[in-house]
Symmetry: C2
Subunit: 328 residues, 2 copies
């Protein structure tokens, strides 16, 4: 079923106000959750909302915590999230990075002791809406083995890179695992195979079977050894720059809380920017499609289509989860 955007947002806000969120914080959090559903990222919109509420109730997310500055130097700042809502801390940090980039061309803000930011793309769109190139990443609980290993020791550490563009920003929002655990469960529940190998089965063979991969726990990093290395260095950067907790400590600490994140904004300068962006997108679209009649999309292009559709026709919701949220 579909629900108007404002109705979903109002429902989220109602629940958050009952949980000791201030009016403005409840409004901002509700807006972000509703936007994630609106853009088709259901896993980090409505579907995730009940878990977020539980985290608040369990004390892992502290509704009224504000980020505090711990250090920094020049265009580089270190903040403590004080376990506040991850989305609010993340928006705050990208806003700081944008401010630093406005002053000095580039700004970098690292934050420790923050919480899950839900959809990372949110902060890419935020930077691009401000006319900035945005780059951010987070560490997570260990959910992926390093290359050559079988026990999960790496997070899937989502990486976001956004480039502003008049006719729709380019926003790459990718976890370093080929498929998220949520996606694997989604295919499993439908009894379907993955379109492409997503991990190893318990015999150590590449597999498209979500059940076998979930059983082995051997989720595939993007590009095999390459994604394994990329995940490790993103954890190093987030942890070192924020002086916060690495995937190791987050994993050993129980439920995923107190993560480390980095936000970088860069101010594009130069008269050719707009035409160069169009040239790159047009060139990629000039590749003959694999399937006749299909098209090549840039990252974020489908998000924009889903957004437009949601605003015209209402936001698609999973009816069961919607009922659950109404009863929170």
């Amino acid at each position: 079923m579909t629900i108007p955007f404002e109705k979903i947002k109002a429902e989220f806000k109602r629940v958050l106000l009952s949980l000791n969120f201030s009016d403005s914080k409840a409004d901002e959090c509700a807006q972000i959750f509703a936007e994630n559903s609106r853009d088709g990222v259901h896993t980090h919109g409505l579907n995730r909302f009940p878990t977020f509420v539980q985290y608040v109730k369990d004390g892992y997310v502290v509704p009224d915590a504000e980020p505090t500055k711990e250090g920094g130097f020049g265009s580089l700042e270190q903040w403590n999230g004080n376990l506040g809502p991850g989305m609010l801390n993340a928006r705050f940090c990208m806003d700081r990075a944008i401010g630093l980039a406005t002053e000095s061309g580039i700004g970098c803000v690292a934050i420790k002791n923050t919480n899950h930011w839900m959809r990372g793309g949110t902060y890419g769109w935020q930077a691009a809406d401000a006319g900035m190139i945005g780059l951010c990443f987070t560490n997570t609980i260990a959910n992926m083995p390093p290359w050559g290993g079988i026990d999960p020791r790496l997070g899937n550490n989502p990486l976001i890179i956004a480039v502003p563009r008049k006719n729709g920003h380019v926003v790459l929002d990718m976890a370093i695992s080929q498929y998220s655990i949520g996606k694997l469960n989604f295919y499993k529940s439908k009894g379907e195979q993955l379109p492409l190998p997503g991990g190893y089965d318990t015999d150590g063979k590449l597999s498209t079977d979500p059940t076998a991969i979930l059983e082995s726990g051997r989720v595939l990093p993007v590009g095999f050894w390459k994604g394994s290395g990329l995940s490790l260095v993103l954890d190093l950067l987030a942890t070192v720059l924020s002086q916060g907790r690495p995937t190791a400590a987050i994993t050993n600490g129980g439920p995923e809380s107190g993560v480390s994140q980095v936000f970088i904004a860069i101010k594009p300068t130069g008269a050719q920017t707009e035409s160069l962006v169009e040239e790159i997108i047009a060139y990629s679209k000039s590749s003959r499609p694999e399937k006749e009649g299909a098209a090549i999309y840039y990252p974020g292009e489908n998000t924009l289509r889903t957004r437009e559709k949601s605003l015209m026709e209402g936001v698609w919701v999973d009816e069961k989860i919607w009922e659950k949220v109404k009863n929170l």
Copy 2:
């Protein structure tokens, strides 16, 4: 066969001096080529040297060109490489980025009209040797189709992320294609299959057959659609920040020359840095290995071993290419 490091370097320098390189430029270029072989990156060391020489002779690489500043704002600078040797321009830019980061915590230098930097890792090691986090990437000629397409429209745009560490820096140096064209040719020449799927055959099936992949031209991006998006945004960033040529223009221009690159240095600050880096590496190594007796390596760890071995026992060289270089 193996050759002492200094002997290889001297041979490179001799050839470069005959090509109108100044003594200092010949020395620096020779050093970088020799170091790439020393570190086991033969494709961008000795094996690439004859091609580099040909590019100089053909006028694509201008030996005495110096980079010139074109613009910038705060900790963000734009340079023109003036088609000088890519390695020298890249070392210069990372050095500038380190200088900016020393002043302001973070620095970003973009360069247009530069040339192939050979091994990107060179500039990651450079940043880490200076105690800086280094991040750099380059665009390239189109050699990979975008996701859903069959004609190459993306570069494999190598991405380097380096983190300084007392007992050996962590240096990730990855192209966005699963295997380079050089690697595919290497397996083809040995008549071997790739260890993991590296592209599609002409029937559009995932394949480990290097001959079939080279025939189709459908080299696989890391993580399928994810690497396709990552390659596109790296081209956008390199092109927009340098106001240089995108993969589209480089490809249409003939031989790969006049590429765009970005160099970012970040100054790590905080008393916990060293212990956090060790914690992350130790945790990843605590994963049980897939094969008994094997170990988990961090990016750059094997480079360091190869380097030590090369310095002790001499640098391995392909005898035929070594003879060729001696006759240049």
